[in-house]
């Protein structure tokens, strides 16, 4: 057993344990953190495949951005666990059925006959100077150009849809117009008045004040 196999089993074990943790941990914030750990160890597995670009992108996009927003939302939620557990036994058969169906479907796609060790050859070690970023860029912008651009447009549509669904343009809000703030002139806000200089207070006043202070 070489070191790579050891590292592979180490991170696979972490991924599986973390993935189980996502659905079994009681605290929802801890569940999200388990998911983060699962993503992280999956990225480590990708690194073993020498897919360094994809691995780091996984960390950057999912761990660094998506899960942060997820954690945000989960932290703000006030989950009533008692209400959630209601009707657990009633829904259990249906849940098991759906779960079994899903498992069956995934198993049918990635079963041993399709993705077995003898079916998929071991990927060749890339030679020195091979850059995964360059290779990916070349493929994305030539062979897969249309799918790539279409995916981008779909995401853009989703963003616009999300904004237009949630933005209720209230016109009576007390927003600040930065343009107006910048255009403010000194004369509008400040009044400079010339004032007589103060005379020193009389000596008796000074004496009584200093006496009080000391």
């Amino acid at each position: 057993m070489n070191i790579e196999t050891l590292v592979f089993y180490f991170f696979s074990a972490i991924t599986i344990v973390a993935a189980i943790g996502v659905i079994s941990v009681k605290n929802s914030v801890q569940a999200v953190l388990c998911l983060v750990l699962a993503f992280f160890s999956a990225a480590a597995l990708w690194l073993l495949l020498e897919a360094e670009f994809l691995a780091i992108t996984l960390v950057l996009v999912y761990v660094g951005a998506v899960m942060v927003l997820f954690l945000f939302v989960v932290m703000m939620l006030d989950v009533d666990f008692a209400a959630m557990k209601q009707g657990f036994t009633k829904q259990l058969p249906l849940g098991l059925l759906v779960g079994a169906g899903l498992f069956g479907a995934i198993y049918w796609v990635i079963r041993f006959e399709v993705f077995g060790n003898d079916k998929v050859p071991e990927p060749a070690k890339s030679e020195q100077g091979y850059s995964n970023v360059e290779e990916l860029g070349r493929l994305l912008y030539s062979e897969y150009f249309y799918p790539f651009e279409i995916a981008g447009v779909i995401l853009l549509v989703a963003i616009i849809a999300a904004i237009s669904l949630t933005f209720r343009g209230r016109r009576d809000r007390k927003g600040q117009s930065v343009r107006e703030q910048h255009q403010v002139l000194k004369e509008e806000r400040l009044k400079i008045i010339s004032m007589e200089s103060e005379r020193p207070v009389s000596s008796s006043d000074v004496n009584s004040e200093s006496g009080g202070a000391s």
């Binding site: 780091i56 960390v59 660094g64 951005a65 942060v68 945000f72």
Partner: protein
């Protein structure tokens, strides 16, 4: 056996980066207190050791001796995990930082992306610290920090795309090598708007003044780390300063030629300064940016929250995107001497 010696060698190299870093952090705090003191016509710390030189050591000892207090309502595991989650990425990011042409721990081709990934996961430490403390101020601080870091990360990411385009590589060593020539070959000229945005976003990412709303003493006491004491607090402190130094070094690497001699190409000065090792140049350049960060803190008042968000989303992101388009034309038309051999002519020759 060979595996063990190799592993030990890597650990030794990590120690060679981290120990000076921790020392640098300690003396950055001293420099900050002294500099801000002078800027405000004070003397700054001057009691411990000659001219206060031992002040940081005294601070470290104090923080080490203090008790780590866990609030009774806190989620204990997460509360103690948060400082570790905050400091681990800020140390891990140093793995790809080159200190000279050959002096780098991990010479990876995805260095730039790795840096971005590491700086983006530090936000977990902040969020978890705020949430696990079970305190209102801490939670407000962590929410502010998270939204600020996520917002400025986008501008920073776009700025790094500009660096990547100009350098033609994600390897930090190659980016510096692409700036070889003279001080006018450095990327600060073609990437000037991106330099400004990267620098300001870097200050915002490290939660430094004038973007220190997550700590905002006057409103929310100390923000996300208000409940931390002793060593746990020291970890937050250490990570923040390590990030400051990292951002300074990265700015020097991306825009100011890293370890390249600034007098390169000038007849007599180049020969006269040839003996200076590249690392010294890099550290000098980084020290200047570190000084600027401290200077900023002494100069500007804190931003208002909506102003921060506006600056990040409505100013920085559009400016970087526009400059990326300008840069594309710049590179492809080979204006000036920065992008020789990378333009349309070179492309035609390659295909």
């Amino acid at each position: 056996m060979q595996l063990i010696t190799e592993g030990l060698w890597i650990v030794a190299k990590i120690a060679m980066i981290l120990l000076p870093l921790v020392l640098a952090v300690a003396y950055t705090t001293y420099a900050e207190r002294k500099l801000i003191g002078y800027m405000q016509m004070r003397i700054g710390p001057n009691r411990v050791g000659p001219k206060g030189w031992l002040q940081p050591i005294a601070d470290v000892v104090k923080l080490l001796m203090k008790e780590v207090i866990v609030p009774s309502g806190a989620n204990k595991t997460l509360f103690l995990l948060a400082p570790i989650l905050f400091i681990a990425p800020s140390f891990a990011a140093w793995a790809v930082v080159p200190f000279d042409a050959e002096l780098v721990l991990a010479d990876t081709n995805a260095g730039l992306l790795y840096l971005l990934a590491m700086t983006s996961i530090a936000v977990y430490g902040v969020i978890i610290a705020g949430w696990a403390s079970n305190s209102r101020y801490a939670l407000i601080g962590s929410l502010r920090s998270a939204s600020q870091i996520v917002s400025y990360e986008i501008a920073m990411g776009f700025a790094l795309v500009g660096v990547l385009m100009a350098g033609g590589s994600m390897n930090l060593g190659d980016i510096v090598a692409a700036q070889n020539g003279s001080a006018l070959h450095w990327f600060w000229i073609p990437l000037f708007p991106i330099l400004v945005i990267y620098w300001i976003s870097g200050v915002a990412e490290t939660n430094r003044a004038p973007f220190d709303l997550p700590e905002g003493e006057s409103e929310i006491v100390a923000g996300f780390h208000v409940e931390y004491a002793g060593m746990a607090f020291a970890l937050f402190f250490l990570a923040e300063y390590a990030n400051m130094i990292l951002i300074s070094i990265l700015t020097a690497l991306f825009f100011f030629g890293g370890w390249l001699n600034p007098f390169q190409g000038i007849p007599y000065l180049e020969a006269a300064t040839d003996w200076v090792p590249g690392t010294i140049w890099l550290l000098l350049k980084a020290a200047w940016f570190l000084f600027m960060m401290i200077w900023l803190r002494a100069t500007f008042p804190r931003y208002r929250y909506d102003q921060i968000m506006r600056l990040g989303w409505k100013v920085f992101i559009p400016v970087t995107v526009v400059w990326l388009i300008v840069l594309t034309f710049w590179i492809k038309l080979e204006w000036g001497w920065w992008f020789d051999g990378r333009g349309i002519a070179a492309l035609g020759g390659a295909s």
